[in-house]
Amino acid sequence: MNDSHYCPHTPEEISEMLAVIGVSSVEELFAPIPAELRAKALTIPSGMSEFETFARMQAIAAANTQGMTNYIGGGFYDHIIPSVVDHLSGRAEFYTAYTPYQPECSQGTLQALFEYQTAICRLTGLDVSNASLYDGGTACAEAAMMALRVTGRNKIVVDASLNPFSRQVLKTYLFNLDVEVVEIAPTDGLLDRAGLAAVLDETVAAVLVQNPNFFGSIDDFTDLARQVHVLGGLLIASVYPISLGILKSPGEMGVDIAIGDGQSLGNPLCFGGPSFGFIAARKSLIRNMPGRIVGETVDKSGKRGFVLTLQAREQHIKRHKATSNICSNQGLCALRGLIFLSSVGKQGLADMARLNRDKAEYAKARLLAIPGVTLLQSSPTFNEFSVSLPKPAAALVEGMLKEGITAGVPLGGFYKGLENALVVTVTEKRTKKEIDHFARILEAALCN
């Protein structure tokens, strides 16, 4: 009995095929591999049925604590996902296709990506978008490398209130290219404009900022854009797409390249991935964009169609001179993002953004009512805000995990001097009841 999974051949078929090839056994086909290199047997266990396999996976998932109430963000956010997202991205024709190299039989993916690029452009207020990057962190790195290429300079200035993980990824990407990365320590939970002014000059390729930043503070970088441009540099802003339902867009601020993580757009938390990174820029920068770009064109009869375009930028043509090494990206996650944005819609995204802020402001008020809890920043916030507590945040957060609550991200691990500080995230999913409970538990934890 051939009990192999997904290897369809019967013994008869195998012999027919071997006969055609002119060998007497499948083993013979491996003759090109020198005998002395042949592997000892694998040590992984024998296989099992799909039913046993799924049961095993359920057991693994069950080994995580279930039903945590989340007040953490830090780049990934616990948002609602309309049912249509799973149903439509779950169409086999979407998820079992490859990158649309053959446009005539890939118009589904191509048109969807064109619509995705359009949504990203409209969200960020910029002219061009690619068809996705890996995630928010690598998007920072790709944007920085893009700025290096465009300006021919080799210094990047980063506001340290940019997500610490993204900053790490940025450094990892750049550490072997001789590029200087200067970090500006934040003040009052905001970009230190004075500190920045001190290092800003015509050697700077780009300034990287984030809005809302890691502390949750909302800023307007219009002034900064002007300063950077005067010196011939680029301004790169990492943004939280849900917040763009109401917040001033990078385009309106004069930002040159907008990036971010698309997880909040219809992609589940899923322990960190897959999500997608987005990147949008001014039209003039398009030839320096990384990754796939879909463009509109016409067929022989003048009918509209879509193709991968400007491929001369890419690794499969330019090899080591390519604008990026990215090949497989996060297409299906970007599709989820498009479906999410199209389902929530123009008014809906604004409503959703307001709902996030309303919930966060309510939580903020509840927490600030607790003796000893004060606000870290004076600037307005969106759905994240930072508080300082009368005691170290780490121990408190650890204690609240046992209550089934992820109370927030302690800032001490990322910024010295902020050992008592906590950044708290509140999305539209959190109910008033949950927030009240959270405040009570937190107060209790602070009292003992």
């Binding site: 090109p32 592997a39 024709e93 490859y98 991935g273």
Partner: protein, 482 residues
């Protein structure tokens, strides 16, 4: 088909949001707000569902068509695997990074740890990081590890080059370039592999690493691979293995045994996770012992009590290649794939992948030029040069196949083969499917002789005919303006 924005009606609503149960917050200052709502679609849920359902129907895909796209390993993605990722949807990755948070994520951390062990077994490596998000990022990660290794031994300045064969995939040199190296490209010899003599000449002590795919992009296993590794090591250069073609050799040969020091694997190729129309993928990287100290962090370790912990503050690490733990959902599917097939199943998969490729190769040999005529591994590369005589290019044959319901093989890659047609059937295709495909390929060859124009006109059965790619590149309409 209309764009979703062309179907929008001002004021129309899609999904309904939950009503608010908290007071409305005071407005933000005007200078922080956008002037007007972003121009997203305004469409009913039914129209949205119809739009994307009908869009999906304009794709070829593994589930609807034979998809022998060389180098991409378009095997069947088992449906049970698709059900696994959803089990982990609710878990916030930051939970594990909170003080004491690991304790609440033992399932997911354990799975990543064990996936690493299984991949280390298959590849013959000492440890694997699951953080890289795709093959290309795995390559970059791997070369950064190489550079960290040389730097640690005081050779950063000295090591300037990465050697790649001219048959290598574009991501290899591109990734090495990002990692700060200059590229030396070695031509392919008539026997279908990096020319050994030219390789020896190219090798100096300034070479940091040699990146190869084995079997290479011609589908051939390099018999001199061990010798190449020895030569590289003699120059203190490390061997990088591009694991995109691992589907040919599971359980047959372990790259680690052959002398490779660093490897990436494409879970979305060899390990049965779908390609998603361009991703997400996952590109775990395996290394020999000497490179472990440089692996990205957080590193997942199993402590004395058998609990899985995160090791974040290690000196020497190259840092981070992703914000969290990589494409977890993809890895869940790959993990399930490996335990489901098990040791025998994986070997069988490679055996039948190789059997299928050789079967197609033998049957098409009489009709298409086979530049490197020898036993291939999981894929075979033909040239349309015979057809070129009649003015027919590889692309014309590709379009003809589309009309017959087949996704074309990879064409024009590897670049070293003129008019390349690169066929990778994978192990999941039945003989009947391949036989039908072979007949159509033969028909294409005959049509090239008798009626070349028919091939130039193809495809005729799709919603659109061939597209004007120059116009697209010239006009750069990459965003809907209306």
């Amino acid at each position: 088909m209309q764009l979703i924005y062309e179907k929008s009606i001002p004021g129309r609503r899609g999904v309904k949001l939950p009503a608010s149960d908290v007071p409305v917050a005071t407005l933000l200052p005007a200078h922080l707000l956008r002037a007007e709502a972003a121009g997203l679609a305004e469409i009913s849920e039914l129209d949205l569902v119809r739009h994307f359902t009908n869009l999906s129907r304009r794709n070829f895909s593994v589930d609807t068509n034979f998809y022998p796209l060389g180098s991409c390993t378009m095997k069947y993605n088992a449906k049970v695997l698709e059900n696994t990722a959803a089990l982990f949807a609710p878990f916030h990755p930051m939970t594990a990074l909170l003080p004491g948070g690991e304790e609440f994520c033992q399932g997911t951390l354990g799975m990543l740890h064990d996936l690493g062990l299984m991949l280390a077994d298959i590849t013959g490596m000492a440890e694997v990081t699951t953080q890289p998000l795709a093959g290309a990022q795995g390559e970059m990660t791997g070369i950064l590890l190489v550079s960290a290794y040389h730097a640690a031994r005081g050779n950063k300045a000295k090591k300037k080059y990465v050697v790649v064969p001219d048959s290598s995939h574009g991501t290899n040199p591109a990734s090495a370039a990002i990692a700060g190296y200059e590229i030396i490209t070695v031509p392919t010899a008539p026997y279908g592999d990096m020319d050994l003599e030219l390789f020896k000449k190219a090798m100096t002590d300034e070479v940091a690493a040699v990146m190869v795919t084995c079997p290479n992009t011609l589908g051939l296993f390099n018999p001199h691979i061990k010798e190449i590794a020895d030569i590289a090591h003699s120059h203190d250069a490390l061997m990088y293995y591009d694991g995109a073609n691992l589907n040919a050799i599971m359980g047959k040969v372990k790259p680690g045994d052959v002398g490779f020091d660093v490897i990436h694997v494409n879970l979305h190729k060899t390990f049965g996770t779908p390609h998603g129309g361009g991703g997400p993928g996952s590109g775990p990287v395996g290394v020999k012992k000497a490179l472990i100290p440089f692996l990205p962090q957080p590193r997942i370790i199993k402590d004395s009590r058998g609990l899985f912990q995160l090791e974040s503050k290690r000196q020497g690490s190259i840092g981070r290649t992703a914000n969290f733990f990589g494409n977890f959902g993809v890895m869940a599917k790959a993990y399930a794939y490996i335990i489901m097939l098990g040791r025998e199943g994986l070997v069988l998969a490679s055996e039948q992948a190789v059997l299928n490729a050789n079967y197609i190769k033998e049957r098409l040999k009489p009709y298409f030029e086979l530049p490197y005529d020898m036993t291939c591994m999981h894929e075979c590369v033909f040239s349309a040069s015979k057809q070129l005589v009649h003015g027919v290019h590889a692309i014309d044959i590709a379009k003809f196949l589309i009309d017959r319901g087949y996704h074309p093989p990879t064409v024009y890659f590897p670049m070293i083969v003129k008019e390349a047609i690169m066929i990778e059937p994978t192990e999941t295709e039945s003989k009947a499917t391949m036989d039908a495909f072979i007949e159509v390929m033969i028909e294409a060859a005959l049509t090239a002789e008798n009626d070349p124009q028919a091939l130039h006109d193809a495809p005729l059965t799709m919603p659109i005919s061939r597209l004007d790619e120059t116009k697209a590149a010239r006009e750069q309409n990459v965003c809907c303006q209306w």
